[in-house]
């Protein structure tokens, strides 16, 4: 689903920066976000649906690909994948620190929508037989 069909070299610098910075809770993963034509994160289903009709599927990996002819079907520009750090649904992806190009092989890619980080409250594993926090 996230496999690159074309890679735009110009994006690689930003992508490398992203990988070096990492992102909270991602581990070694780069996160794929489905975005609309304005770079606003939308539900993954939009990209999945486009991927299913053939024409849009090729753009899900990067709508601004340098190689190959420009798409001729208008709606194929609407939804595509953006790869970068945590960006919530409804927010616009940052102009720097991410890429519309699928990471090169060897980089783990996961859907941002599937990532839930834990451990931000409480004691890891609970306090067990330790003292409570009540009063």
């Amino acid at each position: 689903m996230f496999g690159p069909s074309r890679i735009r070299i110009g994006f690689m610098g930003a992508f490398a920066l992203l990988v070096m910075q990492g992102c909270e809770g991602c581990g070694d993963q780069v996160l794929a976000h489905c975005v609309d034509e304005n770079g606003v994160v939308v539900d993954d289903g939009k990209c999945d649906a486009d991927a299913g009709d053939g024409a849009a599927g090729s753009l899900a990996d990067g709508g601004e690909a340098d190689a190959g002819p420009a798409p001729t079907v208008a709606h194929v520009f609407v939804y595509r994948w953006w790869y970068g750090g945590h960006t919530p649904i409804g927010s616009t992806v940052p102009s720097a620190g991410g890429s519309y190009v699928h990471p090169a092989g060897g980089v783990s890619v996961g859907r941002a929508s599937a990532v839930t980080i834990r451990g931000g409250f409480g004691t890891p594993g609970g306090v067990g037989h330790g003292a409570g926090v009540g009063e």
């Binding site: 945590h86 649904i89 980080i117 931000g120 409480g122 004691t123 306090v127 009540g134 009063e135």
Partner: protein, 405 residues
């Protein structure tokens, strides 16, 4: 008010464990101690109830004063917590319960030692275990205890009204057994309310560290990655706001209810004792208290503003440290409160936990210790009301076969 010696029920450990009190013995010493009880007259209970209601009204005014004058820094409250406090104070999201700790021997006015409004524990013991003890040992007697019906009524109001967001009700704790008992009991009262309402909502229990954050959906989630919209948590607000997920609290506060709400952090802050004394100087139920030092007092208790379970408390008498406890609190600052020595009933010193459910006084739970500081190893001792009870600070023997002496 008197302390009575009573016979323990045969097999009391199994009995109370079967009722949910798994933490009945700590380090080989009974935490639940039914070998003694406190006996009150109806008029003494009336005085406790009136004092509790009056103290609650004053605490609300003190909290309002702090918010209006923005005196957060004086109480050691971080700036990040202020939007949460102010929003929840105005929006009045669901709030459930609190407990005053009072110093009283039945004479004079009960004195407020502190208010535990955010994460009060010992609820199961106060609401259920001592009531079941009363029914078994002193049937026909009464007890200052309407905790369970009031908690159920409050849940009915929340669930039956439009006070909760759609979806499950989550219940979170940090895993300690004593905290789980309180959370489990609160869950039970919520389920009782749903049964009475003939409705249902999913109930989900989880540990605080199992709460998830989805950046993509910008929401807190449970272990099934389902959204958390209504959550009762037995976990201090002052700790939550300083932890990694604390940064997400303000952005989600309009879409979810944390019970207790964030404004309770003002009520549970011991700095409120000084604000109370400033606003109501000389009130019979208050002790002089100051934020900036003992101000000439030679007999006082120095308490951290965010202490739990009697930790880091220092008792000073005649200018000398009489008793002191360790712990990890105090960096946030202290409050200096005039010393009110807990009464001595044959070497046993009770602190009276006077409960509130929502805005109403709701019951009494007593913990006693040998020392002057009530900590997490103090014993819980039940009580009952006897219209003919004499008062005194000695211990009397009561007939435990069913009739009070």
């Amino acid at each position: 008010m008197r302390r009575a010696i009573v016979d323990k029920r045969d097999g009391w450990e199994e009995t109370v464990a079967g009722q949910g009190l798994l933490y009945h013995t700590a380090g080989g010493i009974p935490y639940w101690d039914e070998g003694a009880c406190y006996v009150f007259t109806p008029s003494e209970i009336d005085r406790l109830e009136v004092a509790t209601g009056e103290l609650w009204s004053m605490c609300l005014k003190a909290a309002e004063h702090v918010i209006e004058r923005k005196r957060y820094a004086e109480l050691g409250i971080p700036a990040s917590a202020v939007p949460l406090i102010e929003y929840t104070w105005e929006a009045e999201p669901p709030a459930l319960y609190s407990r005053f700790d009072l110093c009283w021997d039945g004479s004079g006015a009960p004195k407020m030692l502190e208010l535990n409004a955010d994460t009060p524990t010992s609820l199961l013991e106060a609401a259920a275990i001592q009531w079941l003890w009363l029914e078994a040992v002193f049937p026909g007697r009464d007890q200052f205890n309407s905790l369970e019906p009031k908690l159920i009524a409050k849940w009915k109001e929340l669930i039956g009204g439009s006070y909760l967001f759609p979806g499950p009700i989550h219940f979170a704790h940090d895993g300690a057994i004593e905290d789980r008992m309180t959370v489990g009991y609160i869950m039970k009262t919520a389920m009782d309310a749903m049964r009475e309402l003939k409705t249902s909502r999913p109930i989900v229990e989880l540990r605080m560290d199992q709460i998830g954050w989805s950046w993509w959906r910008r929401r807190f989630e449970d272990l099934a990655d389902a959204p958390i919209a209504n959550i009762f948590k037995l976990y201090p607000w002052e700790t939550m706001t300083g932890q990694a997920f604390g940064e997400h609290l303000a952005g989600t506060m309009r879409r979810m209810h944390w019970i207790e709400p964030a404004w309770k952090v003002l009520m549970t802050n011991k700095g409120l004792l000084a604000i109370l004394w400033e606003l109501f100087p000389g009130h019979a139920n208050l002790l002089p208290a100051y934020l900036d030092g003992p101000r000439g007092m030679t007999d006082f208790a120095r308490k951290p503003r965010y202490s739990r379970e009697g930790a880091n408390v220092q008792i000073v008498r005649g200018g000398q440290v009489l008793e002191e406890t360790g712990g990890a609190w105090g960096a946030e600052g202290h409050v200096f409160q005039a010393l009110a020595l807990l009464p001595d009933f044959d070497g046993n010193r009770p602190v009276l936990g006077s409960w509130m459910v929502d805005q109403d006084p709701a019951g009494l739970g007593i913990r006693e210790s040998e020392g002057l500081i009530t900590g997490n190893t103090s014993r819980f001792v039940p009580h009952y009301i006897d219209p003919k009870s004499p008062s005194g600070t000695g211990s009397y023997r009561d007939n435990a076969t069913g009739r009070a002496s």
